[in-house]
């Protein structure tokens, strides 16, 4: 367990939400827009991760980062795939391989990696009835959140 995930766990214990909490360990920083937390799980809107020790990522490096993440993050609701690589804008987009379908909602993870070494994870839903897309709350067990923090650190190492 990395120091970052331990700090994050302690911070979540201290702040049960709602609110924004941020923890850092050396060059790595995680910011969570927390909705609610309990001893079992957490709900959040957006998770941001920054690796400040590598300020400029090339398109190939971003793609490789994306590939490492898809290989590691196998415990989320759906496996992720690298969907689009924008070499011009210096951005890589990952999404759930197949969205989960429930009633009129299709929900999936969306992760953006940017050349500044930032990562943003959120969960998006598309309502086939209203034809609207919107961000929904992401629910993870505490164990999965700790593991996610560890894997984010490991993926940039």
């Amino acid at each position: 367990m990395s120091l970052l995930s331990r700090k994050l766990s302690a911070e979540v214990d201290a702040n049960r939400g709602p609110g924004t909490l941020s923890v850092a360990d050396g060059p790595h920083q995680i910011t969570l827009k927390l909705i609610a937390a309990s001893p079992v799980g957490v709900s959040f809107d957006v998770l941001d991760f920054v690796a400040t020790d590598k300020p400029h990522w090339s398109a190939d490096a971003l793609k490789a980062w994306g590939d490492r993440l898809t290989a590691r993050l196998t415990y989320l609701m759906e496996p992720l795939v690298v969907l689009e690589i924008d070499a011009v804008g210096g951005e890589v987009e990952l999404r759930s391989q197949s969205p989960s379908v429930r009633d009129t909602l299709r929900t999936y993870y969306e992760m953006h990696l940017r050349r500044e070494g930032t990562l943003q994870l959120r969960r998006v839903a598309f309502d086939t009835a209203t034809r609207q897309r919107f961000v929904v709350t992401c629910h993870l067990t505490r164990e999965a959140l700790d593991r996610l923090a560890d894997d984010l650190v490991a993926s940039v190492a």
Partner: protein, 366 residues
């Protein structure tokens, strides 16, 4: 008109009616697109059953005869044989009829009640064609007018009293010979250019490209029936755009991000360089899942408003739905160009949506 011609026309009407009544099915299934051979399209039709008398076996009784009294029900529900096994006999064969693309376009136009397109402005290229309209006294032997030459020779022989009725021989001399001559005639020729743009970024799946392929086939068919000459050009884009051939257009897949403005820029350059709107009817048709990146939407709208729309008869945008839903680009265009007459927007959720989408694109009669 001979009877066989009447029968043939009647058969054609039946076929047209059958295709028209099932037009949605034919449009939705892309099967006929692969069957275009030259100018003909084969369409599989269920067999048309013609009523006929069938004779029973001799001495086996007539109509209404058999066991039972008058009024006895023939069968009750629940009685009778058990459901049978799968048959081993060959199934019913489909009749394939061949139609020209113009006939198919006419059926499409009737089926969707499409207005005919009025080519805009001058939009005409003057094409010269030679037509045999006159007669000259000199020319090559291959163009000699046989009838006029012999008439003139006959007149000369009668006038000079050398024509013998009992021996009616007409021999043309050099002065009698007349030849066909031609004049160049300028014909107005309406030309159109169709520029197809497709998003081939990682989020566009093969199913979505199939929808684009089917829709483009029908739009092509209709526009070709409306203009003398149609030039088709293809642009694919992810974050960058490039011109490709038709096969690449439908089969390529890239993993890049989506920057729609790159395609609009290239289309605009193409129009300026090769298809000035004063001579061409310009159609720009774009298909995407609408997941455009970053601040690109604003640039797209300004490119459309300032460059492409003033030069185009019609700009059509079809947003095909991906497994991740439908992107925001459609709504951006809807807000920006709600009342603009030469903009047609269409959301295509699946193959069944193609029919209505074609109508949305072509229903403006532009």
């Amino acid at each position: 008109m001979r009877k066989i011609e009447r029968d043939q026309n009647r058969f054609k009407q039946i076929v047209r009616g059958k295709i028209k009544s099932d037009l949605r099915k034919y449009i939705t299934h892309g099967e006929m697109i692969g069957k275009t051979g030259g100018e003909l399209v084969s369409i599989p039709l269920p067999q048309i059953q013609i009523p006929e008398f069938r004779y029973g076996q001799k001495n086996s009784g007539g109509v209404g005869q058999g066991p039972g009294d008058v009024g006895t029900p023939i069968a009750r529900s629940g009685e009778g044989d058990e459901p049978g096994m799968a048959g081993d006999a060959p199934g019913q064969h489909l009749l394939e009829v061949e139609l020209t693309l113009d006939e198919l376009a006419a059926i499409l136009g009737e089926g969707l009640a499409l207005p005919r397109i009025q080519p805009k402005g001058r939009a005409n290229i003057i094409e010269e064609k030679d037509k045999y309209t006159g007669i000259r006294q000199t020319g090559p032997e291959s163009l000699r007018h046989f009838k006029r030459t012999y008439k003139k020779a006959l007149k000369r022989q009668i006038a000079s009293n050398t024509y013998n009725r009992s021996d009616p021989m007409v021999i043309p001399v050099r002065e009698d010979k007349l030849y066909r001559s031609w004049n160049p005639i300028a014909l107005p020729h309406s030309n159109a250019v169709l520029i197809y743009l497709m998003d081939v970024s990682g989020s566009m799946t093969d199913d979505q490209k199939e929808i684009v392929r089917i829709e483009a086939f029908w739009i092509d068919t209709w526009l070709r029936s409306q203009y003398d000459g149609v030039t088709t050009r293809y642009i694919v884009h992810d974050a960058v755009a490039r011109e490709v051939d038709q096969h690449t257009f439908y089969h390529t897949r890239e993993s890049g991000g989506t920057r729609i403005s790159s395609a609009y820029n290239l289309a605009n350059k193409m129009i300026d360089a090769d298809h000035p709107p004063i001579d061409w009817n310009v159609y720009v048709l774009h298909f995407s899942d609408g997941d455009n990146w970053g601040e690109d939407n604003r640039q797209c709208i300004s490119l459309l408003r300032d460059q492409i729309l003033p030069k185009s008869n019609l700009f059509g945008y079809g947003q095909v739905e991906s497994p991740y839903g439908s992107g925001e680009f459609y709504r951006e265009l809807e807000e920006a160009f709600e009342d603009v007459p030469n903009v047609a927007l269409s959301e295509i959720r699946n193959k069944d949506g193609i029919y209505d989408s074609i109508k949305e694109f072509l229903g403006k009669g532009r």
